[in-house]
Symmetry: C2
């Protein structure tokens, strides 16, 4: 049994590990486009910030640890074509040498590529000009070199989603004065603006210049200007401009599907490769997983929602099935969390408009219960928005913003676990959750938020 | 509709609040034995330690807040007899005046009383001698007075359960040299000794002198001794003794059932008042809730397991049903957490021997996944023991010990929520939990622990 895996990130390595774990007789080869297998791309901002001293620390597992599991790694090797009927993967090494790898099963985890928004000049500029995107380790090293070489005093970050916020914090930690531009009316648009505004205020407190409802329209080098780059934009119809030393564009990703689409794979939402719950692609003996593939959302059905946690799960399912198993991806709830300076923002399930779009009759309530008993020092409110269906009382989702140290990340996971089981909002109060005054309340914050939803819907 | 509630602690006040919330026309009177309604007895150690500046801060709600909900409070009033056929509660005020309160429904939440172990001399000694138990606010003030009056340099704490450990920390925080004596082989006997030993080591690090496998046999004043009290004990068959300034006995509680038993109520495990899932007692129009009553454990059936969280839930159910509702207590999983200096220890569900006693074929595995990605500063292992049924793969319980700041308390709640839904151990890995490198891993620590259990059972 020869399993070939394309992609050395979360999905690919998870598939390879699972196959080796279940059947040590399987011959596993992982084709990795760069020299950084199993690197945690979610950790890149913490390398840029200086929290992670050396990039090699970002590896979930070292090269040696991966090889010790019995998998073979083909680094700096690009998969160029899948010969589906022939069960062969064509690859090209960095030096140009080409080869075809026979397989019995193929798992493709090519991931995603950064979206490049329509900014005039962006297509001509790159790291040497101080203009960066950030997705791969190569992008990371290029940014690192710019930070060394240019010693920028100022930076402009385009986008205020998860990575944009983490990078604003990272660059601030490096002593750089950061301007952050977001097209939408509030930062962190994956949560409701009522909570995004709390994150916005934290950015303000930490000295990040946040501009929402603002687009970037052009970027150009300014050899004689006050800074290396002039960035032009539009704020509510008014033209505006910024002079900065570097620009970082982090406005999301799109699935990297070229290899699979060329092989005849069908696509789904956002152009991602359509996969079944067993991660099969419809192509004979070809599975796909992670950011290149569609995701089954437990509440929305098939969607595109690239997340590292999902890539790990899908990869594990694909690896099991590629060697003859019958695993099924249980589905995502879009559970996410981000640390922004001293705040933690998290969500799981659906927001109001998403729930309405899925046919529910949603109501969202907001409350701010303390993380622990007020009498014990350090109690801090967690802003919690609970979304439920008015008619059935079914829990649909929750969003939380709390200070670091309030266990906000694992509190969203309590809700995620409840959502997994399709609980009612009322049911949350029946959960037997832990309590000690320094860390909680007799009714946990998520239960108090659920009770607030019940009162809101009754009023 | 006249609702009378006996007991001003968690269960009683929860019942009164719920009744008032559901029907503002209900006349609610709460009979409170002391002057401290709705005080958080779980907070007492933090008052003793000095973390809580004034005892009044321990109130979940102030007297005024309670009255504002429309309930009537009868403080310093003892319920002496229930006239079940006459629907009357006889009470006695502190001054001796007696009265009978007519009711349509009665909820009894008399709580528990501290167990007094068979220690020679204990029956003759009290606060004036520096010998204390700790359960009520009166006990707390008595201890407080002893700490002021005696300025003890040394203390002996009998018992190393939740409250014993919290009090060892509290007295240490007050600058007192603490010796802690536990009869069983390891501290915190509600978790497996493999985790208790971690708590033991933390106590050692913080200067508490911990003696396990040791019983206290006698206590006596020593007016001419090196300290105020001489305590005698037995360590593995060898007599031993300690000279200390104060003694604190915290070895658990037993249900306070005199009122209900005298009225004819049946009792169950540990002598607690037997209640149905609707908290009815079998006596006409009489409900009971909290530490005086039995608890439905979702895995063990009817048991006795006094916990503040359960008292709140049972009280809420009793309050709803007393005024005509049809609520059912969903059951406990014995979820508990305690902070011991810089550690957090938590459990939910069953341990090996408990599961075996309940007819399962349990296996427990132990692993120590980091709380978050190792490359982000401050990562710290959480010792996690997962118990599951070998045959069915069903999740049965988990125990966790981690450092403060590792979100250990809310991680046990993820498991508690999974247990509530009778998940398999394998199912834990399907949960869509949140991830960001500073706060988690792509597979959360509880998922990695579950995967470790799967490997253990397969090996």
């Amino acid at each position: 049994m020869r399993l070939v895996v394309v992609g050395g990130s979360d999905a690919g390595i998870s598939a390879a590990l699972r196959a080796r774990e279940l059947d040590p007789a399987v011959d596993v080869t992982v084709v990795v486009a760069d020299a950084f297998p199993n690197y945690s791309i979610c950790g890149i901002p913490y390398y840029v910030s200086g929290d992670v001293a050396h990039a090699s620390r970002l590896a979930h597992r070292t090269h040696d640890e991966l090889v010790a599991t019995g998998m073979r790694l083909r680094l700096d090797t690009t998969a160029t074509r899948i010969d589906v009927p022939g069960h062969r993967l064509h690859v090209r090494e960095a030096g140009g040498a080409q080869e075809a790898l026979d397989y019995d099963a193929l798992v493709v985890g090519t991931g995603a590529v950064p979206v490049r928004p329509p900014i005039a000049g962006l297509e001509r500029l790159g790291p040497e000009d101080g203009v960066h995107v950030l997705h791969t380790m190569a992008d990371t090293f290029a940014l690192d070199r710019s930070l060394e070489r240019l010693a920028p005093r100022t930076a402009l970050v385009v986008g205020a989603g998860y990575v944009g916020l983490e990078m604003a914090e990272a660059l601030t930690a490096r002593g750089i004065d950061v301007t952050q531009v977001e097209m939408l009316p509030e930062v962190l648009p994956t949560v409701d603006p009522e909570l995004g505004t709390l994150v916005h205020a934290e950015l303000d407190r930490r000295g990040v210049h946040v501009l929402t409802g603002t687009t970037v329209t052009a970027v150009a080098p300014t050899p004689d200007g006050p800074a290396r780059l002039r960035v032009e934009g539009n704020a509510g119809g008014e033209p505006t401009a910024w002079d900065v030393d570097i620009v970082l564009v982090v406005v999301g990703v799109r699935p990297d599907t070229d290899l699979l689409v060329a092989a005849g794979a069908a696509t789904g939402p956002r152009g991602a490769v359509a996969v079944e719950r067993d991660m099969s692609t419809g192509l004979d003996s070809v599975w796909a997983a992670g950011d290149c593939a569609t995701t089954l959302h437990r509440q929305l059905g098939v969607t595109y929602l690239p997340l590292g946690t999902t890539a790990h799960k899908q990869g594990r399912v694909a690896g099991e099935n590629a060697i003859g198993g019958s695993a099924r991806f249980a589905g995502s709830l879009g559970t996410q969390v981000v640390k922004v300076f001293g705040l933690v923002a998290a969500r799981t399930g659906l927001r109001d408009h998403e729930a309405a779009g899925a046919g529910f009759d949603p109501l969202t309530s907001q409350s701010s219960p303390d993380d622990h008993k007020a009498y014990y020092p350090g109690a801090s409110p967690i802003a919690i928005r609970v979304t439920g269906d008015r008619g059935s009382g079914r829990l649909l989702g929750a969003q939380l913003v709390g200070a670091l140290g309030t266990e906000t990340a694992k509190r969203v996971d309590i809700v995620a676990t409840a959502l997994f089981h399709e609980m009612s909002v009322t049911g949350i109060s029946e959960l037997d959750l832990s309590y000690t005054p320094p860390l909680g309340s007799p009714w946990d914050a998520v239960q108090r938020a659920a009770q607030d939803w019940e009162r809101t819907v009754a009023s």
